[in-house]
Every structure is written in structure tokens, then in C-alpha cells.
Amino acid sequence: MPEELQKDPLTRGQFLYMGAVGTMMGLALTVPPAFFIMDPALKATIFNRSDIPHVWREIGSIFEVPSGEATAFRVTFPQKQTYDSGGPNSRVGSLTETALASWHDGKIPDLVKKRSEGATFSKSEVRTLEKNINVMSNACTHMGCPVRWDSVHHQIVCPCHGGIYTINGMHVGGPPPHGLWRYVFRIREDGIIEVRHKWVQGTPWIV
């Protein structure tokens, strides 16, 4: 144990040397780890790459959508994230979500009423159908709780904080900032609705 402290003077050279080596070591030990941790954030926000590849997935046929109600369809997307991204001996993950489908204001267009199950629609008919159907995600825009159809009051209700949406997914009451997220979807000739893991209003995160 040295008896008392010895304070030698610090020359300019020593100070500059220590400063330079110190910063280099600091950079080497902080910049790569930062990128290491921020990798998904960079990919998601800057390069807009999503974990889910651009694929169309079927959710159901328009004949299954009843009038005056929003029904839930389960849809499964392939998900490539960390160890589920299809390496040599690993599988591709999957993410199952629910899409709520409902006719505009609950009224089935007469186009569909006349056609039976197997019939096919022309291009223009498909376009009118796409305008008259709402395909929305079931995550509440406030805090992401699963919303559900409340047949008593004919509205879509979020159980967490009392958010209320109309049958078209428009925001009516409660804390949610805006209406439900609307899927990017298309309708095939034989009336099957196909959905992509992309939303009209942007990225809702979580879902």
C-alpha cells in the first residue's frame, strides 16, 4: 500500500495519445454493438423491410360475409424473424392474425345476392365489390386489444378501454385515435378475398 499519492505531471503527448487510443477503443466497442442491436429497427424503419414476405393469403369467400355483421377470418402469414427465417436446417415461422370482414353499412350488394356460390364475377363487378366491402384488422388502434362485434348495439367494441367503431370500422367513441386498420386486399373472380400483410394507413406495429 503506497504511503501517499504521487501526482506526476501529464505531458501534452501523453494526453493526446491516451485521447486518440481511448476514442478508437470506445468506437470499436460501441458502434458495432449499436448496429448489432438496432438491426431490426434499421431494417423496419429505414429500409421498410417487413418480417413477412409479400404474399397474398386467402381469408374466405365473400358469400361467407353475412349482412349487418362483421365476421372474423383467421389468416396465417409466413414470418421470417431470427431463427425462423429458413436457414439450412430451420423452418419458416408463421403469424396468425384475424381479419374482420363486413359489407359497407352491413348491406349485401344485390350482385352477390343473385349469384350462387360457384359463379364468377367480371372485372368491373369485382371493382364494385371491392368498394363495398371492409376488410379490417381486429387489433384496436388504441392499444392493440382484439376488438369484437357487439350484436346488441351493432358496433365493433374494444374490451380494453371502451373504444367503439361502426360496422365500417370508422372510429365513433373512446380513446382510439382513428378507425380500424384496413388490409390491402383483392377479390378473385370466384369471390375469394385475398389479403396481404400490408395496411392502407401505414404500419400499425405489433400486428
Binding site: I37, M38, P40, A41, K43, A44, T45, S50, D51, I52, Q79, Q81, T82, Y83, D84, G93, L95, H142, M143, G144, C145, C160, H197, T203, W205, I206, V207
Partner: protein, 262 residues
Amino acid sequence: MTRIRDRMAERGRDVADWLEERTRLVSFMEKQLYEPTPRRGMWLYTLGSATLFLITIQFLTGILLLFYYVPTTKDAWNSIYYIMHHVYFGQLIRGMHFWGANLLLIVIGLHMIRTFLSGSYKPPREMNWVVGVALIILVSLLAFTGYALRWDQEGFYAWEVGMKIASYTPLIGAWAVSLLLGGDTVGPATLSRLFVFHVWLMPAILAPLIGVHLILLRLHGEFGAAFEYSERLAKLNKRKQYERMEEYFASDEEEEESSRGE
């Protein structure tokens, strides 16, 4: 019999001296254990050590749970199920970890209220209060992340609400969420990040902070509360009153002298 006991005591003393020589452990322990502490509020001050005890239980049971827990999305739930149903005392260890966390939050809240009411954050003990507040925030974050590690509906949605709140932060909202999510959707990356936060990152910050908290406590000694010093305060006020009285009478005498002097 007494001879054996004496020889044993003799050998014990030798070991103590040997240790003292090299690590001064014995004097350190004596300084810690025999330090005077207030008696009147003794039961109030047990809250601090109760929190310490509960945190050690959390560390202990946490590490034990790690023996069986698997942080993959497919098997996290199954591993918890395995702990609860097949491992000996599994339900006990997990129960202690879960209920310990709830009790810890209650006790840490009471400890904070006791410290606030007794005013023991006054100078020179401000830093101890600041470290304490950091500790309570860390513990609630730990409880929050731990809840979601089970990867069942209840835990997951609670964590999701937390992340959705993070997504509302004005500037770095998108960044914060994608950092916590590990991508733009919920998946295996989310669970591994959750696992890192709960099992290593937060405890790694918590442990030294608790050490700092205890060192600061020992540095200034336990303040206790105002009722520990009531007699001394009474003596102090009495003495000050006498001084004021003397001043008052002294000023009277001067007036008399000055008036008599003219």
C-alpha cells in the same frame, strides 16, 4: 469436555486472527454489525431489509427457473407448463417468483412512502433517494417484462399494450417499438429481446444499484425519523429559548444603563 471446548475456541480465535491479518474481515463485520441504529421506529426500518430479502428471493428463484425455461416462441409456454406440472417443487419455485414479485412491489412502495414521510431524503442523503427511485422504476420494469415471458395470452397482451404505448412517443416512436419488437411484427425476436431485458440487462443494472444504495446508507447512517430525536430537539429548543431570553433581558439592562447614564 471443557478442554476440547477451550482447544476449539483457541483454534477458532487463531483462524479469526489469520483472516483478520489478511482481509481485515472481522473488523469490517464488526463495523457493520455493531453500528448503532435507532430503536423507536425499528419495525418501520425493517421495510428496507424486507425489500432486500425479497429481491434476493427473486434472484434466487429466477435463476432456478432458468434451469427449465426455454425462450423460443414455440416452447416458452410448454417449458412453463413443464415446470408447473412435472418438476419437483416446480409450482413452489414459480409461485415464489410470481408472488414474491407482487409482494416486492407492495413492500417497495411502502418503503418509499416511509422514506418520504420521515423526510430521510434531506441533505446529505439526496443521492440515496435518487438511487432508490431508479430502483423502483427498474423493479416495475422487471415485473412488467417478467409477466410477458410466459408467452401466454395474459402476459403477451400486457406487454403488447406497453409496446403500443411506446409507439406513441412523438419522435422515436417507430424506432422504440421496432427495437422492442425486433422487427415490425411480433415473433421469436420479441421473445428473445424480452428474455434479454428480464433475465440479464435489468438485473445487471439492478444489482450494482442496490450495492450503491446500501453503501450510501452506510455512509451517512440510518436517519430514521424525526421522532428519534425528540429529546435532543427539545433540549435544543429550550437552550435557544434561554439564549433569546438572555438577549432580551440583556438589551433591557443596556437601555436602563444608557437611560441611567444620561
